[in-house]
């Protein structure tokens, strides 16, 4: 009884409940997120979480169809399973025109996560294709989670009220036992206000923490204004970088040729597309994944032809071409002068340094925050590509030994040491 009393007195119950709740929420959330992410990264190119056939079969209900052990073997190395003569495996192999599902680099825990996701993929599965002109991605609201969360909170609220009532009852009983009149709080509100007045120090500390925490939060929030990391607009033509740069291994510079010798990397003009798509016209009717949905290659390639007013039958161009209005993903403010050639040619940087693994993205998203902090942090760490460059040799020849020691003493010449942190290197 005393334990309960002390518990009530410290009122840590609420804290404990909230902690448990948040933990639960976090756990559920992260579990599902992981599965989704893994699915997208590893499976989505060929599989749909519904029943629709893509390259491979739709995976809805796959855990019921096969046992977990079999699935593990299949996913990790389907070829081996087929070779071992497994009936189910061979059936699938034959059904899908004898093409082997490539072995996936996932461990058992990840498989579990993926299977969990397939079982409960949220409402993103059956969504109809969005309006093609819509920009940005809508965060999928996980309504099941929401209901669960509200339910738990209600439950806890009832628990708190019941416990409070019980506590009051117990206290009254104790008071009666001691022959005293109970004059403590009888309602939850009174209980709380008494609690507050009894623990002014803690409340004050809490208020202070909340206040400053709020300010810190606000500041953090303010720093994200205008930062569009993760910006991932859908494009008018569902161009998948994953297919072109990843699967087909086309060099970035093939299309973005001016990155090497101009300020801008350049969005390829449609005549560059036609170098390949005159031949690859999508007539084999394949589909591909773009932003989690399936699109027909035929239709998307046709869009190129439409813009060029090109007739694939006759191979002739009409005289009514229309420009493609791509949506710019990486938007730097006007007061920043960023030069691709500086970074790609002079600095010998890989495209991925700033743009991330574009070859894995079907929809290109802004990988880096593209803030000034991000820029200068990189300039602080990155070594200048001085090797074999006569320009730097000439610069180094001019330096006094002391100055040379200062900038080259550590053996690395970083960008900031040659002025990469100076205002007028990027702002003019």
């Amino acid at each position: 009884m005393n334990k309960i009393l002390s518990l009530i007195k410290e009122n840590s119950l609420l804290k404990v409940t909230l902690f448990c709740l948040s933990f639960l929420f976090f756990q559920l959330n992260s579990y599902s997120q992981d599965g989704k992410k893994l699915f997208k990264a590893n499976c989505a190119a060929c599989h749909n979480v519904g029943t629709k056939k893509v390259v491979g079969p739709g995976l809805s209900g796959v855990a019921e169809k096969h046992d977990r052990e079999w699935l593990g073997k299949w996913i990790k190395n389907s070829g081996e399973l087929i070779a071992s003569g497994d009936a189910a495996a061979n059936e699938i192999f034959n059904e899908y025109s004898k093409s082997i599902m490539p072995p996936q680099p996932v461990d058992d825990a990840q498989i579990d996560a993926i299977l969990e996701y397939i079982k409960n993929p949220g409402d993103g599965v059956a969504a109809t294709p969005e309006d093609v002109t819509s920009v940005g991605t809508v965060e999928e609201a996980n309504s099941t989670m929401l209901y669960l969360f509200i339910g738990v909170i209600l439950l806890l609220l009832i628990l708190v009220i019941t416990l409070n009532k019980t506590g009051v009852f117990v206290k009254e009983v104790i008071a009666k036992d001691a022959g005293e009149e109970y004059d403590g709080p009888t309602t939850l509100g009174q209980g709380l206000s008494q609690l507050i007045s009894n623990n002014k120090g803690i409340v004050a500390a809490l208020v202070i923490v909340l206040f400053f925490g709020g300010i810190v939060n606000l500041m953090d929030g303010a720093f994200t204004i205008g930062v569009h990391q993760g910006y991932k607009p859908e494009q008018p033509i569902k161009f998948s970088h994953k297919i072109h740069a990843g699967d087909d291994k086309i060099d970035c510079n093939y299309c973005h040729s001016s990155a090497r010798h101009s300020k801008t990397s350049g969005i390829p003009s449609l005549n560059v597309c036609m170098n390949c798509h005159k031949a690859i016209d999508g007539s084999d009717g394949k589909t591909f994944t773009y932003n989690g949905q399936q699109y027909s290659m035929t239709e998307e390639i046709q869009k190129i032809y439409d813009h060029l007013d090109y007739d694939p039958e006759t191979g002739e161009y009409g005289d009514n071409p229309t420009p493609v209005q791509w949506i710019k993903v990486h938007n730097l403010p006007d007061h920043v002068y960023f030069s691709h050639q500086q970074h790609v040619t002079a600095g010998k940087q890989k495209c991925q340094t700033c743009h991330g693994p574009v070859e894995e993205m079907d929809v290109v998203e802004q990988h880096a925050p593209m803030t000034m902090k991000w820029c200068i942090e990189c300039h602080k760490e990155t070594a200048v590509a001085t090797e074999g460059n006569g320009y730097y040799d000439d610069m180094h020849k001019r330096m006094t030994p002391e100055f040379k020691e200062k900038v080259l003493g550590d053996g690395v010449l970083t960008v900031d040491e040659i002025g990469g942190w100076e205002c007028a290197k990027c702002h003019y």
Binding site: V135, A222, I225, G226, H228, Y231, P233, S258, H261, S262, K263, T264, G266, I267, P268, S269, L270, N271, V272, H307, L308, P321, P323, V324, Q325, W326, I327, K328, N331, P333, D334, H335, Y337, S339, H340, Q341, Q342, T345, A346, G388, N389, G390, Y391, Y392, D394, M395, R398, M399, T400, F403, I418, G419, E422, C423, A424, K425, H427, Y428
Partner: protein, 1054 residues
């Protein structure tokens, strides 16, 4: 008694007016616009907006602004469908082309970005212009994007289509018996051929008439007197070409050959070359003139004379060099004798020219040059200039024919005669049935013509040119026509039934006529190379036929002797901004301060200051100094309401007035100034730009002019300008012409002079041996003040146009200004009153300056032009006071300015010793006060902006960045090539545009660079160096080709 020169920017400084003193001690010449920010004071007081309300609104405003910032606009990226091979977004392309507008010629390079021309510089491939462009030429890129341009052809004042115009006009031309073409001087061989073809067709019906005579050349500024004089003297009806590089003595009587006289672009580089004091010889330049011209301001000896005296001065000069002529005595015989002595000492290597359009004066000039043996040496009539061909009598004959109804159809190309000739022409035009005007913009002539053929801008056109015989250049379009326009040559081809386009015609004409002269084999190769280079120079063998002078000197002298001067005479001149009128509608040029008066946005009457004081006129400029206003009458024509401004050096008894201003038709109202062409006297002998004038005072209150001359005065310092004379310089004693700054220090009880460098307050900041150190060396001896750099900087750095009212308030945004200092000798008051004891003279005048007892210094001052921009100090005052570190120093010696970091405290401008920082008082690209004249306020005008440079917004400071965008580009090119930055590969906009190469830009740490040579030169000094700001901009002492006196030693710091 020590004598030294006093330098003054304006009469305000010379006279030490109260306003000037107040202004020079103020960090900001601007009046703070508090009232504009807070509204009317009364309404502010009566307002019931409490502090609380204000804070509420402020809070709301901040919240709203932050919310607005959260919204991300969707930016579209639209690539080419089929990318042209040579265009890469983000990279500039340069095309060689040709500029010729009937007034100026230059071989140019056009910089285009994403297919838009954005900047013009000179083409150094041309040995004729050698890369020289003036302000009008490099500003012409803005005219391309003038939203007032004609967007389609017009018929009877209404928009029409080319098809209907071709159809109707074709019929009318067919019916017309006598078709005439009035055109600016055509220097294009191909256009000439087309016109001849066209004119021949028109006269088929009329037997025996000379087709070529149907094409009449007309120049807005006539050189007819020279042409006819040459015809009389040498039987050649052309203008000569001059070689100023070989001229040891130059005598110019009223000819502004560096600003606006014939082919200035071809003279100015040569002139500067011959003015280098380090050469074996330096040319000596005498200038006799009425108004202070750009040329006069650069002369060694300048003599203010009346225009009516030009002739007698020439006859006296002819006599003095040994000519057989009787000459009367003049007031200037002393200077004439000096000039003649110099001329005789440099026979065959001198040039005498005269700006008068009087044939008689030009005959005398020819006689002098013949006497001196200059023909075939410095003056070439064989390889003659083609740029001006108009003969006044032929134009007069055309007008007579028109009036007589003899002309059925008149086609007017490249000129605006209703504006320049005036009502006479307008009236005659009504007698012509079919009138056609070729025009890019609506103008007075186009408004009076039945058909208006909307023509391309030059940058949209093909062209070729032969400005001087044997020197060809090609012009190519750098953008497709923006509107439904067609270039004149295409029209002429079409109307003469030729289906070829002009570019085809041009190519064929070159293949047929010019290519054979080169002895080449493959035309295509030749064509591609010539188009790439822009120029083709054929070595024309100088014919050995000696020119014999047949001019009738005695007749000419007799005619000259009859000229009677008036008590007040006018000289109608052209200034650097507007020229003959081509710049009148260009906001960049209107806002460019005149090199001498520093006045913007209008033309005005210039008068001698002492004469103005006698008349009781105000001689001071200021934000609230109203100018006197006069009506000015020449003959029967009067121009009303012109302000009178003081021009030191203006000859007494004369006034000056610039032509070309006041194009009202087809322009915004703000384009100001008044048309002075009606004052040009048209006599039977041709046009005269001189005359007797009557000034009538008009009572106009509050007439302000926007003058920048004393706005950015560097106060209380002596070591701003340094100059010396040639003989002192040649002695080679640096202490005499460019002494080092020293301060007195005490060592071991003795006073010793120590270099100011030793007194550095700052910690040693390494500038040597650390990498690059960008800097400039500016040769004051080469700078002519032409202001080409000013407009080039505007074009490169997106500098805002702010209009007359804001310029008057001293808010000019120009990063590059040219400070014009007048210099006069005076006795130092300190010496007079001090140790040397008072002389009688000093006692007489009492106080400040001894010059008061002498001749008025503003009557004929010497002039120094000093380009002034951010000095990029290594110990910069601005950097230390910025509270937000928005202006900092780079390790390459640049003073950097981060606009988006600036919060507009203006502390930096406070602390700048050179007053080169500019504050954005308004958002000039959006605020409606500037809509009428700021070209960036319409979509078309914005196309001229340089995409590599930020357009600044309200509330931030800006200043010269030393074209950091070009430095970065140059460095990147070097890094990509894996080689050091080649000296000269990086040029700033100003250094690239400077026709005399006065500005050398480069890496001072590159020991072999040209700029380093300039920095290490004996003449090199830094402005107010004694203050220890360690600028990276060096200047070189000006050297005048004068005999030294004890006063001529450079004024140093002692």
């Amino acid at each position: 008694m020590a004598n030294s020169k006093k330098y003054w920017k304006g009469l305000e400084q010379l006279e030490e007016t109260a306003e000037f003193q107040a202004m020079s001690t103020q960090e900001f010449p601007e009046q703070l616009p508090v009232e504009e920010f807070l509204g009317d004071e009364d309404s502010l007081e009566s307002s019931n907006t409490s502090r609380r309300d204000f804070l509420k609104y402020l809070g709301f405003g901040v919240a709203a602004a932050s919310l607005a910032a959260c919204e991300t606009p969707v930016t579209k990226a639209i690539p080419y469908l089929n990318k042209p091979e040579e265009i890469t977004p983000g990279l500039a392309n340069y095309y060689a082309s040709t500029y010729y507008d009937g007034h100026d010629y230059a071989a140019i390079l056009v910089k285009t970005r994403e297919g838009r021309p954005i900047h013009i510089t000179g083409n150094t491939e041309s040995t004729l212009t050698q890369g020289a462009v003036n302000a009008r030429i490099n500003s012409s890129v803005l005219s391309l994007y003038d939203s007032n341009r004609l967007k389609s052809p017009m018929m009877n004042g209404e928009e029409a289509t080319w098809a209907t115009l071709d159809n109707r006009l074709g019929k009318e031309l067919k019916a017309a018996k006598n078709v005439r073409v009035l055109t600016n001087s055509i220097i294009s061989p191909s256009a000439n051929a087309i016109l001849r073809e066209f004119a021949t067709q028109g006269v088929e019906a009329e037997e025996g008439s000379d087709a070529v005579n149907n094409v009449i050349s007309y120049d807005a500024i006539s050189y007819s007197g020279m042409i006819t004089a040459n015809e009389e003297s040498f039987s050649v009806k052309t203008l000569p070409s001059y070689n100023f590089e070989k001229a040891k003595t130059i005598v110019s009587v009223g000819a502004d050959f560096m600003g606006n006289w014939l082919d200035t672009q071809t003279y100015i580089t040569d002139y500067a070359e011959a003015r280098k004091p380090d050469n074996k010889w330096m040319s000596k330049h005498f200038q006799f003139e009425a108004s202070m011209s750009l040329t006069g301001s650069n002369a060694d000896v300048r003599v203010p004379v009346k225009p009516s005296e030009y002739g007698t001065i020439l006859t006296s000069l002819l006599k003095a060099v040994g000519g057989n002529v009787s000459a009367t005595k003049t007031k200037y015989d002393h200077q004439i004798t000096d000039a003649a002595k110099a001329l005789k000492a440099s026979k065959g290597a001198s040039i005498v020219i005269c700006g008068s359009n009087d044939k008689n004066a030009q005959v005398i000039v020819n006689a002098i040059n013949d006497q001196l043996g200059n023909y075939g040496n410095t003056i070439d009539l064989e390889n003659h200039s083609n740029t001006k061909q108009g003969v006044d009598s032929e134009v007069a004959a055309l007008i007579a024919d028109m009036n007589a109804g003899k002309v059925d159809a008149l086609l007017i190309n490249g000129v605006d005669p209703v504006f320049t000739i005036g009502d006479t022409f307008k009236k005659a035009l009504t007698k012509v049935k079919t009138t056609v005007c070729f025009a890019t913009k609506m103008n007075d002539t186009a408004a009076a013509c039945k058909y208006v053929a909307a023509t391309n801008h030059q940058l949209e056109s093909w062209s070729d040119a032969e400005p001087v015989k044997g020197y060809f250049s090609l012009g190519q379009p750098t953008i497709s026509p923006l509107f439904d326009t067609r270039q004149a040559e295409d029209c002429f081809l079409k109307w003469s039934g030729n289906d070829k386009s002009y570019d085809e015609y041009l190519k064929e004409n070159w293949e047929a006529t010019i290519f054979p002269q080169t002895g080449g084999v493959m035309f295509t190769d030749f064509w591609n190379k010539t188009l790439h280079d822009g120029v083709l120079e054929l070595s024309v063998a100088a014919s050995e036929i000696a020119l014999t002078f047949n001019g009738n000197v005695s007749n000419a002298a007799a005619a000259i002797a009859k000229i009677k001067g008036g008590s007040m005479e006018i000289e109608l001149n052209q200034n650097m901004a507007v020229g003959a009128g081509v710049g009148a509608d260009n906001p960049w040029l209107q806002e460019m301060p005149d090199p001498l008066t520093k006045i913007t946005w209008e033309n005005y009457v210039t008068m001698n200051p002492s004469e103005m004081r006698e008349k009781g006129y105000n001689t001071q400029f200021g934000q609230k100094e109203a100018m006197n206003v006069v009506n000015i009458t020449v003959g029967k024509n009067t121009i009303e309401n012109l302000p009178v401004v003081p021009q030191p050096g203006q000859a007494r008894g004369t006034v000056g007035l610039a032509l070309g201003y006041g194009k009202k038709v087809g322009n915004q109202e703000e384009i100001s100034g008044q048309n002075a062409y009606p004052l040009v006297a048209s006599t039977k002998d041709g046009n005269s730009y001189y005359g007797n004038v009557t000034l009538t005072d008009v009572d106009v209150a509050d007439y302000y002019v926007a003058c920048t001359q004393v706005h950015q005065t560097i106060m209380g310092r002596d070591a701003i300008i340094r100059e010396t004379t040639l003989d002192v310089y040649k002695e080679g004693n640096k202490a005499d012409f460019n002494p080092s700054h020293t301060l007195i220090d005490h060592k071991d009880g003795n006073a010793v002079n120590v270099l100011t460098k030793e007194f550095d307050l700052w910690g040693a900041q390494p500038v040597e041996n650390i990498g690059h150190r960008w800097g400039m060396s500016i040769d004051l001896n080469a700078c002519t003040g032409c202001s080409s750099c000013v407009t080039s900087c505007i074009s490169e750095n997106n500098i805002a146009v702010i209009g007359k009212d804001e310029v008057r308030r001293a808010r000019s945004m120009h990063w590059m200004r040219i400070d014009r200092y007048y210099a006069s000798e005076h006795q130092d008051a300190g010496d007079i009153a001090g140790t040397l004891g008072k002389t009688k003279e000093a006692e007489d005048v009492g106080t400040t300056f001894g010059y008061m007892a002498m001749e008025d210094p503003s009557d004929n001052p010497l002039v120094v032009h000093q380009p002034m921009m951010c000095q990029h100090c290594n110990h910069a005052g601005c950097e230390t006071v910025c509270p937000v570190a928005a202006t900092t120093h780079s390790n390459e010696g640049l003073n950097m300015m981060a606009y988006n970091r600036c919060i507009g405290t203006r502390y930096c401008a406070n602390n700048c010793a050179y007053k080169v920082r500019r504050f954005n008082w308004y958002n000039y690209i959006a605020y409606n006060k500037f809509t009428d004249f700021n070209p960036s306020q319409d979509d078309l005008g914005r196309m001229v902006l340089n995409p590599d440079v930020v357009v600044r917004s309200r509330g931030v400071m800006e200043k010269c960045s030393m074209c950091v965008q070009r430095i970065q580009e140059g460095k990147l090119d070097a890094k990509k090539a894996g080689a050091k930055v080649v000296d000269g590969a990086i040029q700033t906009a100003c250094s690239a545009s400077c026709p005399t190469n006065a500005i050398t830009f480069g890496d001072i740490n590159d020991t072999k660079s040209a700029v380093r040579a300039g920095v290490d030169h004996d003449r090199s000094y830094r402005v107010i160096e004694e203050k220890g700001q360690e600028p990276n901009i060096y200047y070189q002492t000006k050297v005048r080709n004068l005999a030294s006196s004890k006063t001529a030693k450079s004024h140093g710091h002692s």
